[in-house]
Assembly symmetry: C2
Homo-oligomer: 471 residues x 2
Amino acid sequence: MAKDILYLKIAKAITEQIHSETLQFGDRLPSLRSAQKLYNVSLNTIKLAYMELESRSLVESRPKYGYFVSQTSQRKLALPSIAKIKESEIEKNPQDLIDKVFGTISNPDLTQFALGIPGKSFLPLAKLKKSIINVIKNKNDSGTNYEPVQGSEQLRREMAKWALVLEGKITEDDLVITSGAMNAIYNCLMAVTKPGDSVAVESPVYFGILQAIQLLGLKAVEIPTHPISGIDLDALKKALPKLSACCFVTNFNNPLGFQMPDENKKELVRLITEYNVPLIEDDLYGNLYFGAERPKPCKFYDEAGLVMWVGSVSKSLAPGYRVGWVAPGQFKERIIRQKLVQTVCSPSLYSDVIADFLEHGRYDHHLRMFRKKLYANYLQIQKSVTEYFPDNTKISEPKGGFMLWLELDKRICTEDLYDEALSKKINFAPGRMFSQYNQYQNCMRLNYALEWTDRVESDLEKLGKMIKNRI
Amino acid sequence: MAKDILYLKIAKAITEQIHSETLQFGDRLPSLRSAQKLYNVSLNTIKLAYMELESRSLVESRPKYGYFVSQTSQRKLALPSIAKIKESEIEKNPQDLIDKVFGTISNPDLTQFALGIPGKSFLPLAKLKKSIINVIKNKNDSGTNYEPVQGSEQLRREMAKWALVLEGKITEDDLVITSGAMNAIYNCLMAVTKPGDSVAVESPVYFGILQAIQLLGLKAVEIPTHPISGIDLDALKKALPKLSACCFVTNFNNPLGFQMPDENKKELVRLITEYNVPLIEDDLYGNLYFGAERPKPCKFYDEAGLVMWVGSVSKSLAPGYRVGWVAPGQFKERIIRQKLVQTVCSPSLYSDVIADFLEHGRYDHHLRMFRKKLYANYLQIQKSVTEYFPDNTKISEPKGGFMLWLELDKRICTEDLYDEALSKKINFAPGRMFSQYNQYQNCMRLNYALEWTDRVESDLEKLGKMIKNRI
């Protein structure tokens, strides 16, 4: 039997197993060597069969871990729909709701699906403590000296070395250290806009970005956003002539979870370059990928210095340290000036600790573990939502990060649901937080970077029941 | 002989010693007990004599240390003059000059008269290090948790307890922690102004305040300022109807060093209340007093909640920690919102260290030593300037803090002098940095919070010679 027919036969057999749910989403296929024995064929034939399955999106390869039945192979719930944003829509500031939700996120009694930061069990707390103690012991000035305004040179150097994804396109000289990613975004907005200007954002949009835009007297222009490919580039193109800036979360978007495809990123950079509009690219989830490799940011395709590439360790290592950065391209001097006036400089100790973590490979080591845990949790929450929530629930397909976006039955108001859930000690982020218009009332965002306990599982079941009771 | 004649005779004898320079500025008078034996009179008579001298400003009492010959008793150099600010004056942004001076302040080879922070030998570095290690050892979260946006409750509680000068008028609830005093000022400006608004400042004005005002698109209104009593209240009154805010350094002003008298503070608060104009009161030097007690801030007299009282530990304990605070009165919610959007929260470790320092009395202990050293240095620099600089040099009379303001002969351009001084490894802050107009070209600010070595002394001599050569 010819090899090419053999591998197709094996692929067909596995496809049937997937369709009959003998193999389910998240299951690992037998290793190449086991499968070789199982089907009694050459290693190459098995490889061809698995690649065939991968090309049909039935399985995903995860380097070093093997092949897994993919989500798309068995998706039972639909993707969230794309919002049609009408400019005529009445603005309804979500501030009251944001305040309400934020008021509960430090309550330790709640299951914190609303949080935007990973749970403690995901962070290398002991190693961080050790690093802080080592760093402070070696600091002659006990951390009292001012750092350069641009930020610790050591940290910037380590950051630049570590940002392999940019393939050497940035050096320490191109980076400015900030007080977390939000501070970088705030400074970028200050640098390239003046009150009254318009800034394009995704829709749904991370509410922190919306708050910054509104606080600075700017106008947010919500662009329709696809749950898999991100911002609608045609809609953006129409808006570009009147924009002063764009602000997008391109990788593992908050809240939608998408990874903007490379071709879209290239086209986005081409468009902003054509219209000479700066792009603030919030890439703070970029290292939390489920796939084979860290996705490229738009910054990689930027020749004109228009992309201001923002990152931080808040989502991946140490939220409270407030260490972020920006590679602001042609706007570097404005950002440094803004930082000087706003805070003089960053506290040096945390910069040194993060630099230490990067230098000794501890951050990479941590991220490898963290990504595995996040992916496992994603599979968990995906399964639980599919099981407990109504069948007409629409669910995002995050390619990384730790946010799940759900679109529920039209009759559900997640703001009302929030109160009921809270009374049962369950927290989530209601959809209306993610728009300046009265939108996404039937949506919610769930954080899944929490220790997966029986309580978490049963709380999702409770939440599903509450929703079913409301239909 | 009647007591009242006796004490006057003793006062007269001492006055003559002062005038003949047997007793010189800064010298300590004999203790009450020694003087009692010396003059063979009752303790009470000596007390009366010393109080008489004090009432004539010939001596100053410093509780627990005794009586000292005062500066005014023997002042040889005149006070700086009050600038006449013409609105018609052409604006000349001092940014280029500020950048130039800032570019050299981390150069360890220079004698740093330009710096706005105390030298390392003035800070309790070992105790700070110990405190950091203790704090981090006890933190279960290794500092990764977010703090409340308003700031660490423990720090705010300790701050409120420690702010005795306000006599219990503020609680932890009234304070917001910021990233240093400049960050507090920036947030206060953001909270109460919009671009195009006018903000009153002193003249000469601390350049950081000027930079913040300009960066936010505001207009700085420079008000003539007296080197002893501060802002000219009549001039301010005329400007008030068109102001959106005032921003003053009321205690140990930077650069003039004055302590605004209590009656002026009361009147200032009365005026801003009448016109309903918020006052940002930058009181970050307030604890570095040379006199008997910590002066009251305007905040003490504020009933309407219009005074936003700003402080920090940057000038007195740990510049690089970036810990400041503001008691923003009626603008608290706006400040908290601004902070949330700008940085989410402060890093917790430094808050805990400062709280620890306050709680265990270490800050008080440090301040007592620090004030003594600063006062000694002030006497030193005052003497050296009097000795080495031309006789027509005008010199400020700081009542605390560590900044000296000099007004030189009209023919001197301190910007040119700066280059010559720098070539001899001496640094200072040229006067033009302290105005948006082309003013104070013959002025300079000297920092005297540096270890008083022979080199410092000889550098002042060199500086004096350079000036003399230019007349």
